[in-house]
């Protein structure tokens, strides 16, 4: 859908074309323009900057006509053509191509009698063929778009009909401005409309705007003031107001207007009142709105920039060479013109040499020379390879066909394979130098799994989720947790994080471990307290820990869940017959942990109130405590025990049918995890949350207030009234850095508790660091108990803030700050976003291939860095530089410091690499010396992207192996890509899965989408869409390499072919007084390129395989040849041309000298020339080919046969046709003549000898890596492994490709050593970063606030 939107915009931009003014004016023009296009032709009466929207109902008909009559309706048409205008328009567009214009020019030129060189009709043939093929292609493409448009236009929505006095179904296309539309939850908004009613009592409605701006979180929209208070749905009949608003524009974040009631009272409208087309209603049962912009005038349509016409690097290169060809052509024509002039001046008066015009007038030599120039252009036109363009398109289609049918790209789980959405940049896949990757969903699976938590300073792990993960995909509803483990869930789930735990324990073990638990509680406690190293501790006390973790694990989750819930994760039951009934989806959130929450929180915090609460409900447990130093801990144990028991008893049947829908996957993960511990979120309504505790039964929490998440605070809070204690409790969930700062320093409960708190805090912090190192996403949870009066006071202030008009934002922030302070830490969670299968291997291979990989993520630094380690983007012994500053100056300083340091240590690190912008960075520089990684966060990135620092930043990154940008916004992502692309002149590839990657995908040379969890936006914007990251390595290393070498060789071959063939004609001019005679029959001349020699190169371009896929995968270094454009360097082009000249000379002069002075006639002379040329050209291809399949053979034989058949048939049938070249019987005559064959054989031998010798010697004298790798394909598997090893060794010794092979080999060796451990690490939590002792991190903190530059500190894990 996005695509077609883009098309619309694109089309519109073209429409606007020259008349385009500045952005401000655009919209107004646009409306009128569109109006002319589709509705009526008179311009809107309101040329002004406003549009007036009147309800589209009968009472206002006149008025409506007056104001809104000319607004476009909601029908969209993104196709370029209609049935009628297809031919003219397509022709018109095609003639925008320079090449086509050129050929049109030639065709026209040939109609000028004075310069005519061919029969008129013949010159048009190639053009017609080309135009037809392209037109068919365009037509099909457009038809596809038409079908999509139709589908969209025919989507149904509910529009108020006055006749029927209710909302009736109508197609999108019939919606007009002023219509009232009623939408239910999850419906897509058909047009921009002002929100008039929402079922939400607060007049709020949530929309998901990911289709527009890439932000996947929900946005609130507000009913127009004055309407929110209405209880009943707004009645369109009674709606008598009119809306005045801006004319359509593309600013998504702006909407200004007012609603004027009949009483002349005006109500302001803002962007929070506007529902945008393409967004989806979420969490709101139903909304009603009035359409203000429709169709192409909606912000969505205006805002989608058209697809960038991507032209591949290779094609750009080819185009410059086409220009060279043009130059060559001009020179040849000039030669012809001069030659003819001079020649004619010698024979000016010889009547048979300078045949007078029909009127007897004799042309002067000068004029004749001038005419001859044009004649020559016609004659030698083939020098510009017209068929090249068509062939390239066909070849690309073929390549795409094969890419798409590669089984390796098939993903069974999703039943999807690669989609090639862009048809013209396949060969760019083989030249990628920079890869920009999103993290979440691209490298990782974006399936959040609750992994660990820390409660009251104890660390627990949750392995059950591993199981859940496995089944995650298959089940639409994810109830497995609770279903699978009704009885033993607790224990299974909460196993220590010893590596084996996952596999060892299965569900049924539950009870057993429980038993252990009871006994060993004490031991655990002490053990935990004492041990510094979590691993050892757990190993030692595994079973007790299980118990413990289970206990406390649950609470935490529940806490979080609650919060999440509060956060409005919309919980929905999908397909649960029992529960789904009756309730609207949005509100059906069961939240059962509140009670738990209280329990656990109490345990952790030991605040008196909570204790009471817990005691009331769970007093028996308290009594059964073990000998632990602190009460809370004991309680923990107890709670766990009881929980365990409870759960062991036949579990909870109800939970099974719940399906949660959360704003973000991690929240869902928390809710699910909580459910696994029997804290089931049951329902979630705006006012309350019901959580079902196995132990306590359902508890209902009254929701008092929600402070939504924002990126400034980096936290969110809910205020609930605890059902047991009846206290007001604030729960806050947020980034650890933030929460830690907000914890209460002085607790009122006395010193011991305070101390306790401090210990917990420290431990938790340790755990958090630990989690982060493992690549887990961490969250902290804290709470605060308020008295009612405190709350009331806060609420009052907060209300003031909410209602204030000026500085509302700041006031709200302030208010939030007032609430979220003096918190008590409850615990922390670690959620894993598991790496996708095969990601580390892919990244490693891609890095070996010389591709620089940048990770751009919105995630926080620690997580990003750790994922980077996990996926082998960073190696443990890499030097890490962290750019994290608050001001531009500091950033600059820091960068120069790092740069100096880098350059000192690594002299190879190139200043010059960047100084000579545009030159490719030689991969050598990256590989020599030490590896360095650069981490930069969003804020610093902003500085670095500023113009003055760009260069330095790029220099810095050039020295680094990998760059990780964390906390980057979508816009920054695209800016980074743009910066690198434009300033380094490198080929970039951006890969991402979410809507937030769209901009980056569109900016990069190749945009790659991952069809994953986050919808289709990325896929829609991408050039290629794959289902898993690991496919990228094959796509680039194998298909990219193939496509690139194939296409570049084919293009070169085309140049060669055309030059070689056309030069035959040119040489002949020296023997016919430069009179423009062709010694070949015109049909053969034209068909030679169009038919006889067109198929083999196309097949070559599609099927050629220089190196087999296996070898390419095994030796990623081979990819570097593509990066360096080795297959098609400027030099290669000229060598090719030289060869073509040589071959044409041979091909001409062998027959020439053979027939010199004989009685051969013109066309009989041309025949062996043609035939020899055909063989030379085809055999040349055979020499260049590395693999010949039966298809090649078929095509080659077919081409030769078709040539002979045509020549024979034409020669037999054509008696008078085709003057002056009359091919009658020439071929037949020649085929009986031995000399003909001798000439052809000799010409072919002599012509091909040099190239063949070159190819032979190339293998032994200066083999390129690719050439050497080619040899591998012929070996048996054993020989192959041996050879590969040798290759690696040779590389290490610097024998062959010292720079390239070097580091990759050492790396692979390393990998071999640490094989199994690593592979495990990849699967679960990355293990390497955990033992951090030996990896050094250069962290540099620059805080502008203090205007202090701390020099780069050393060692230790990165800190935010």
């Amino acid at each position: 859908m996005t695509e077609c939107l883009q098309w619309a915009r694109y089309r519109w931009q073209r429409l606007m074309g020259s008349t385009r003014r500045d952005d401000e004016e655009r919209p107004y023009n646009y409306s009128s323009l569109l109006a002319c296009g589709s509705v009526s032709s008179h311009a809107p009466k309101l040329a002004a900057k406003h549009r007036v929207v009147i309800p589209h109902l009968r009472p206002f008909k006149d008025e409506y006509e007056k104001f809104s009559g000319t607004y476009v309706n909601n029908r969209i048409r993104t196709t370029k053509y209609t049935l009628l205008n297809f031919v003219p328009r397509n022709l018109f567009e095609q003639f925008h191509r320079a090449a086509n214009l050129y050929f049109l020019f030639l065709a026209v030129l040939n109609w000028v009698p004075l310069v005519e060189a061919f029969q008129k009709e013949i010159t048009m043939l190639p053009l017609v063929v080309v135009l037809t093929i392209i037109a068919i292609k365009d037509g099909l493409e457009d038809y596809r778009k038409y079908k999509i448009d139709k589908q969209i236009n025919n989507l149904v929505t509910k529009v108020y009909s006055r006749k029927e006095k209710k909302y009736v179904d109508q197609c999108w296309k019939d919606v007009v401005v002023g219509d009232f539309i009623r939408l239910s939850c999850n419906e897509v908004i058909p047009a921009d409309m002002v929100l008039l009613f929402s079922t939400d009592p607060d007049g709020i409605c949530h929309i998901e705007t990911s289709g527009l701006d890439g932000e996947s979180n929900l946005k609130q929209r507000q009913v127009v003031r004055g309407y929110a208070e209405q209880d009943s749905e707004v009645d369109p009949e009674k709606f008598s107001s009119k809306i005045e608003c801006e004319s359509p524009n593309n600013d998504l974040n702006r909407f200004r207007g007012y609603l004027e009631h009949s009483s002349r009272e005006r109500v302001g409208l803002g962007k929070e009142n506007l529902l945008l087309r393409g967004c989806t209603i979420r969490n709101t049962e139903a909304v009603v709105g009035i359409v203000v912009y429709a169709g192409h005038e909606t912000k969505a349509m205006l805002n989608n920039s058209g697809p960038r016409y991507k032209r591949s690097k290779l094609e750009r290169r080819a185009n410059t060479d086409v220009l060279w060809c043009v130059l060559l052509l001009l020179m040849m024509c000039l030669t012809g013109a001069l030659g003819h002039g001079i020649w004619l001046s010698r024979y000016e008066n010889i009547i048979f040499f300078n045949i007078p015009e029909p009127d007897g007038h004799v042309i002067s030599p000068v004029l004749a020379g001038f005419y001859m120039f044009w004649t020559m252009i016609i004659l030698l036109q083939v020098l510009i390879p017209i068929s090249l363009y068509v062939s390239i398109e066909i070849v690309k289609l073929g390549q795409i066909y094969f890419i798409q049918s590669d089984v390796d790209f098939y993903n069974e789980k999703m039943d999807s394979t690669i989609q090639c959405r862009s048809l013209n940049i396949t060969e760019d896949l083989g030249q990628i130098q920079y890869l920009f990757s999103d993290k979440t969903g691209t490298l990782t699976e974006n399936k959040m799994v609750f992994r660990r938590c820390s409660v009251a300073g104890f660390d627990y792990c949750h392995e059950e989720n591993a199981k859940r993960l496995e089944s995650y995909q298959e089940a639409a509803s994810e109830d497995e947790d609770s279903m699978d483990t009704p009885s033993g869930s607790l224990t299974n789930m909460t196993k220590p994080r010893t590596p084996s735990c996952r596999t060892v324990h299965n569900g049924p073990l539950g009870s057993k471990s429980l038993n252990h638990l009871a006994g060993s509680c004490l031991a655990v406690g002490s053990g935990e307290g004492a041990s510094e190293v979590p691993h050892s501790r757990q190993a030692a006390f595994s079973s007790p820990i299980i118990g413990l973790s289970s206990l406390s694990g649950m609470p935490i989750k529940s806490l979080e869940e609650i919060k999440n819930l509060f956060q409005r994760l919309s919980v929905r039951r999908s397909s649960s017959p029992s529960l789904a009934s009756g309730k609207e989806p949005s509100s059906g959130i069961p939240s059962a942990f509140v009670s738990r929450l209280s329990l656990f929180s109490r345990m952790k915090l030991a605040s008196p109130v909570e204790e009471e609460v817990s005691q009331t409900s769970e007093s028996p447990r308290d009594s059964s405590n073990s000998a632990r130093p602190t009460e809370t801990e004991k309680q923990n144990c107890d709670a766990g025990l009881t929980d365990g028991k409870v759960e062991c008893s036949p579990g909870q049947p109800l939970a099974s049918s719940l399906c949660y829908e959360a704003e973000s996957p991690d929240e869902a993960a928390l809710v699910y995890a909580a459910r696994a511990y029997q804290c089931t979120l049951r329902s979630r309504t705006p006012e309350q949350v019901m959580v079902d505790f196995a132990a306590l039964g359902p508890l209902t929490f009254q929701l008092l207030h929600i402070l939504p998440f924002d990126s400034v605070r980096k936290r969110m809070s809910v205020v609930v009234r605890h059902p047991l204690s009846n206290q007001v409790v604030v729960y806050t969930k947020g980034a650890d850095s933030v929460i830690m700062e907000l914890l209460s320093v002085a607790s009122p409960d006395g010193a011991s508790l305070e101390k306790q708190q401090m210990i917990i805090r420290e431990k938790t912090q340790k755990h958090l660091d630990d989690y982060a190192k493992r690549g887990l996403r961490t969250l902290c949870i804290a709470k605060k108990v308020m008295s009612d009066t405190e709350y009331a006071e806060w609420l009052r202030n907060h209300f003031l803030a909410e209602t204030s008009i000026d500085h509302r934002e700041e006031l709200l922030l302030e208010s939030a700050m007032r609430l979220e302070n003096k918190l008590t830490l409850l615990g922390a969670t670690g959620i894993e976003d598991r790496l996708q299968e095969g990601v580390p291997e892919s990244i490693e291979a891609l890095q070996k291939a010389g591709i620089k990989i940048w990770m751009l993520t919105g995630d926080k630094q620690e997580t990003a860095v750790n994922i980077a380690y996990a996926c082998k983007l960073l190696e443990p012994d890499d030097k890490l530089f962290i750019l994290n500053t608050q001001s531009k100056d500091a950033c600059e300083m820091l960068m120069s410091t790092i740069l100096k340091e880098l350059q000192k240590k690594n002299p190879a690190c190139p200043e010059q690499a960047l100084l000579s912008e545009g030159s490719h960075q030689s991969p050598a520089t990256q590989d020599s010396g030490l590896r360095a990684g650069l981490i930069i966060n969003g804020k610093t990135l902003e500085f670095a992207l500023q113009e003055s620092l760009q260069k330095q930043f790029l220099e810095l990154t050039a020295c680094c192996q990998a760059v990780v940008c964390c906390r980057a916004t979508p816009l920054q992502k695209s800016e980074v890509v743009k910066l690198v692309r434009n300033h380094l002149q490198v080929m970039t590839l951006a890969i991402g899965d979410g809507a937030n990657d769209v901009s980056m995908i569109q900016v990069a040379d190749i945009g790659m989408g991952i069809s994953g969890q986050e919808g289709m936006q990325a896929v829609m914007a991408s050039d290629f869409a794959i289902s898993q990251f690991k496919h990228l390595s094959k796509l680039l290393l194998v298909h990219g390499h193939w496509c690139y070498t194939r296409l570049s060789n084919m293009i070169l071959y085309f140049f060669y072919k055309n030059v070689a063939y056309v030069n035959l004609l040119f040489w002949y001019q020296f023997f016919c007084g430069f009179s423009g005679t062709s010694m070949t029959d015109y049909w053969v001349l034209i068909l030679f390129n169009l038919l006889f020699t067109s198929a083999p190169p196309v097949i070559y371009g599609v099927l050629e395989k220089d190196v087999s896929a296996e070898t390419l995968m095994q030796l990623p270094e081979l990819y570097k040849s593509g990066q360096k454009s080795e297959a098609y360097l400027p030099l290669t082009f000229w060598i090719t041309l030289l060869d073509a000249f040589y071959q044409s000379l041979v091909c001409f002069f062998v027959p020439y000298y053979t027939y010199q002075g004989s009685d051969i006639d013109i066309f009989a002379f041309g025949n062996p020339l043609n035939t020899a040329a055909l063989f030379i050209i085809i055999l040349h291809l055979v020499i260049e080919s590395n693999s010949l399949t039966w298809i090649h053979m078929l095509v080659i034989v077919g081409s030769v046969l078709s040539y002979f058949l045509f020549a024979l048939a034409f020669g037999a049938m054509c008696v008078t046709c085709n003057p002056p070249s009359n091919p009658h019987w020439i071929m037949q005559e020649h085929m009986l003549d031995p000399v003909f064959y001798l000439v052809c054989v000799l010409a072919a031998c002599v012509a091909l000898l040099p190239r063949f010798v070159y190819r032979v010697l190339q293998g032994s004298l200066f083999p390129s890596p690719v050439l050497r790798a080619k040899h591998f394909d012929r070996l048996t598997p054993e020989e192959r492994t041996k050879a590969l090893k040798k290759w690696a060794e040779a590389g290490k010794m610097g024998q062959v490709t010292p720079k390239n092979a070097d580091h990759s080999d050492s790396k692979s060796e390393k990998r071999a050593k640490s094989g199994p451990a690593d592979s495990f690490a990849m699967m679960s939590a990355p293990s390497r970063p955990v033992d951090q002792g030996d990896f050094s991190v250069h962290e540099t903190d620059l805080d502008s606030g203090y205007c202090e530059t701390k020099a780069s500190g050393m060692a230790g894990p990165p800190k935010g």
Binding site: M1079, S1158, V1215, P1263
Partner: protein, 355 residues
């Protein structure tokens, strides 16, 4: 989006076919550039070329050919023809020569023109195939300015080519001894391509030729109309005249010869042309000095390999030699490399194989 998902579920699996073709796993022949293969290939090619070259040279050597340029010999005639005014003045010229060796077998008489461009674009265009094939005498479309005579009647045959026909008459006489001069019998037929004579050129159908060509004019430079080209042989008259047909097949290069007559092997000439004294009696009509050209007569025999050109044979021989040279040098390189890289013997095996 949801719709898309649904459809994807409905359709069968998108798993691509796992065929050799689609997976690009087709068995492929790879050019094996192994040392032995390449070298033996080169040697074989070289040997072949040398062999063919030698055969060709030998066969070309066996050809007897005599060429006599007569522009200078008949300088006075040439001078006369320089001026178009003298077109009706006849000028003959006799060129005696001595044939030292018998020319065995079929002997062909050619005329050869130097520097006459029969391959100019506008020149070769200036003909009417449909007229020549006898279907439409009035079709003179491309022939301008030689399409119509002054009074508007179409010229047959029209166009520059026909108009510029080579119109010398060459008669070879054999001087058996000083007194007996006999004309060597020559055939004026069978010197064209069969298809030219029987397909491409047809006379318009009529009772007799002259009536067939009524309503047409003779080309301005011709002395007689087309139907009087050969009054003795009706099969050789009109458009079917062999000399005319031969001329109409425009030569590829500015220097060319065209078959004029072939020896009628009767009487003395049954074996060919015996050695002895001969003379050409030439009626000099065709002007060449104006374009600084030359004319010559050629007597030649033919072999399977065509004319007397040594080029092809030499070229083959040289190519063969060069190929061998290349092969030897490659062998040298190969051996050198092999020695140099003993360190990595195995790896170089791979190299060597390729070399």
């Amino acid at each position: 989006m949801t719709k898309m998902k649904k459809t994807s579920q409905i359709c069968q699996s998108k798993l691509p076919d796992n065929t050799a073709l689609k997976q690009q796993q087709l068995p492929a022949y790879r050019l094996q550039l192994s040392a032995t293969g390449v070298l033996s290939g080169f040697f074989a090619t070289g040997a072949f070329c040398l062999g063919v070259g030698i055969i060709l040279i030998l066969s070309a050597k066996s050809i007897k050919e005599i060429e006599i340029k007569y522009t200078k010999i008949c300088a006075n005639c040439a001078e006369l023809r320089e001026d178009a005014i003298n077109f009706d003045k006849e000028c003959t010229c006799s060129i005696p020569f001595y044939l030292s060796e018998t020319m065995q077998g079929n002997v062909y008489l050619y005329y050869k023109l130097y520097g006459f461009y029969q391959n100019l674009y506008r020149y070769i265009l200036s003909r009417s195939n449909s007229q020549l094939v006898g279907t439409d005498l009035k079709d003179v479309g491309n022939c301008a300015p030689f399409s119509k005579s002054h009074n508007g009647t179409p010229i047959a045959p029209c166009g520059a080519i026909a108009n510029s026909i080579f119109n010398d008459t060459i008669i070879l006489s054999y001087n058996l001894n000083s007194s007996i001069h006999m004309e060597v019998p020559m055939l004026r037929s069978g010197i064209t391509w069969w298809t030219d004579k029987y397909v491409k050129f047809r006379n318009p159908s009529a009772i007799n030729l002259s009536s067939a060509f009524t309503g047409t004019a003779k080309p301005p430079y011709w002395s007689k109309p087309v139907y009087e080209l050969d009054l003795e042989d009706t099969e050789n008259n009109g458009f079917l005249n062999d000399d005319f047909i031969v001329w109409m097949r425009t030569a590829a290069f500015p220097t060319f010869k065209k078959l004029y007559r072939r020896l009628n092997r009767v009487q003395y000439f049954i074996e060919g042309l015996p050695a002895g004294n001969y003379s050409f009696n030439i009626t000099y009509n065709f002007p060449v000095t104006r374009f600084k050209g030359e004319k010559s007569v050629v007597l030649s025999t033919l072999t399977w390999s065509g004319g007397s050109s040594l080029f092809l044979g030499l070229a083959y021989t040289v190519t063969g030699a060069v190929t061998w040279l290349a092969a030897f040098s490659m062998m040298a390189i190969h051996l050198m490399l092999k020695e140099k890289r003993t360190l990595f013997i195995e790896r170089f095996e791979t190299e060597r194989d390729r070399a």
